[in-house]
């Protein structure tokens, strides 16, 4: 079955033919987690949610995840957890019931259907609630309340929110005496200098700068920072007369070697 990206109110419709990847991204942006997405997929079946086919829904979802992986769209962990769970549910629904401790496939499907109905009900309820005439939007109170002491208890205007916020701010100040800065996982210049100095001792001939880069560095950002740090380090070391640099043309590989020193 061809995976078709779900349409919902959040993805832009009629925005012209987008690539599957773009559509997926659009679609993902509109959802608040996998349950929300399942609900949107369920609506595609165009049946009452009480009559929804959970098996079909699982297929729709798994197809979506497969498509996302094909276009290398990064899915948050909970989307993958849901996929695993649905794959398991599917197997339980397809294989005749075996006697064991686990809830039956039907029970699991019913529980999921209930969750979807409940979420749908709450979405509808929130829409209805906000369609009501609202104070300050549709209906207005006295614009210039007069200074009459009607509720004697509130000589001071303090709400619970004020109280809790004050305590929160107090705690924040206490905790915040020390500024916690997230450790930044970047390759530092100092580390690169140290590393290069060590490696160069063992590598007297020309070698490309990239061959000095550490292995197993995860992530594009860290990789780029390692390259930048090592490049800056070679400049530092060249200035100190410890290495020689060579580049045969613009954008060509940069070569490094230990400076021929009279030791």
């Amino acid at each position: 079955m061809a995976p078709k990206p779900p349409k919902d109110g959040f993805a832009e419709e009629g925005a012209g033919p987008a690539s599957p990847a773009e559509q997926l991204v659009l679609v993902l942006d509109g959802f608040e987690g996998p349950l929300d997405m399942l609900l949107a997929l369920g609506r595609e079946q165009k049946v009452d949610l009480t009559k929804i086919s959970i098996l079909q829904l699982a297929d729709q979802y798994l197809a979506f995840v497969a498509e996302a992986r094909k276009v290398r769209l990064e899915l948050a962990a909970d989307y993958l957890v849901m996929a695993a769970w649905l794959a398991y549910l599917k197997s339980r629904l397809l294989i005749p019931n075996v006697e064991d401790e686990e809830p039956s496939g039907e029970d699991m499907a019913a529980a999921l259907a209930f969750q979807l109905q409940r979420l749908e009900a709450m979405k509808e309820a929130s829409a209805k609630l906000f369609r009501r005439p609202r104070l300050g939007v549709d209906v207005f109170p006295r614009g210039a309340p007069e200074d009459v002491d009607i509720q004697r208890k509130s000589v001071f205007q303090v709400t619970l929110y004020d109280l809790l916020k004050a305590y929160g701010e107090h705690k924040k100040r206490k905790e915040g005496g020390v500024l916690h800065i997230e450790p930044v996982r970047l390759y530092s210049l100092e580390d690169a200098v140290r590393r290069l100095s060590e490696l160069l001792g063992r590598m007297p001939d020309w070698a490309t700068l990239s061959s000095f880069l550490p292995d197993g560095v995860r992530g594009a950002l860290l990789n780029r920072s390692a390259l930048a740090a090592h490049f800056a380090a070679t400049l530092e070391l060249a200035k100190a007369g410890q290495v020689e640099l060579r580049q045969d043309g613009a954008f060509a590989p940069i070569y490094v070697r230990r400076a021929a020193r009279q030791e």
């Binding site: 009900a121 609630l129 207005f140 109170p141 009607i150």
Partner: protein, 211 residues
């Protein structure tokens, strides 16, 4: 009332009370409950009766006397809304998450954060409850007597006032939802959000699940 009409003094006295009630309610931007109003009138005044008379008097006018959960207040007439409506500032627009969370608290209260997360299927991002509380719509309720004693959340009187509701029973469709069992907090098989466990969200690291 009949005998009052015969008695000019009684008519005068009643009119005086009506005027005072009118003034008290008019002066305040917030709803006033009957108890507070009674405290400002002579003893043995039938406040409910007077309020009913005022309500009837104002019913056809541009300003109506209405009752919401918190009490009685004058409000502009509903049918004039299209002529008075003020667009909400963009900065005040609530996120979808906040709107859904408010509905869940309204319909399921008292409800714990973990229950909200189980219903929505995602962790509640920081700032959601905060903004609802800042708007004066929700407040902490009693702690649940279950392990971890999680805090529950409930809606406020101001919530009722804001949405023009006389009581929580007037929430749109609440009876149907209850009858359909959709307000049950039955445990879910699929612990999607923060585990569904009711421990007070201890790690400050709870970010948007979809982040």
């Amino acid at each position: 009332m009949i005998q009052d009409i015969a008695n000019p003094e009684a008519v005068e006295a009643r009119l005086h009370k009506l005027r005072l009630l009118e003034a008290l309610l008019f002066a305040s931007a917030d709803p006033l409950d009957e108890e507070t109003l009674a405290g400002r009138l002579e003893r043995d005044t039938d406040v409910a009766d007077l309020l009913e008379e005022l309500r009837a008097h104002y019913a056809p006018r541009g300003v109506n006397l209405v009752r919401t959960g918190a009490g009685w207040s004058f409000r502009t007439a509903l049918d004039l809304a299209p002529l008075l409506r003020q667009e909400e500032e963009v900065s005040k627009k609530l996120s979808r998450a906040a709107i859904e969370t408010l509905a869940i608290i309204a319909y399921h209260q008292p409800v714990t954060r973990a229950e909200i997360e189980a219903i929505r299927g995602v962790a509640t991002s920081k700032g959601t409850l905060d903004i609802l509380m800042e708007n004066g719509w929700i407040r902490p309720g009693r702690r649940r007597e279950t392990p971890g004693r999680p805090l529950t959340w409930v809606t406020t009187d101001h919530f009722l006032d804001h949405f023009g509701l006389e009581s929580l029973r007037d929430l749109p469709g609440v009876e149907d939802l209850r009858a359909a069992g959709l307000l049950d907090s039955r445990p879910v098989l699929l612990g999607i959000a923060g585990g569904g466990a009711d421990e007070p969200a201890e790690s400050a690291e709870t970010e948007d699940a979809d982040g």
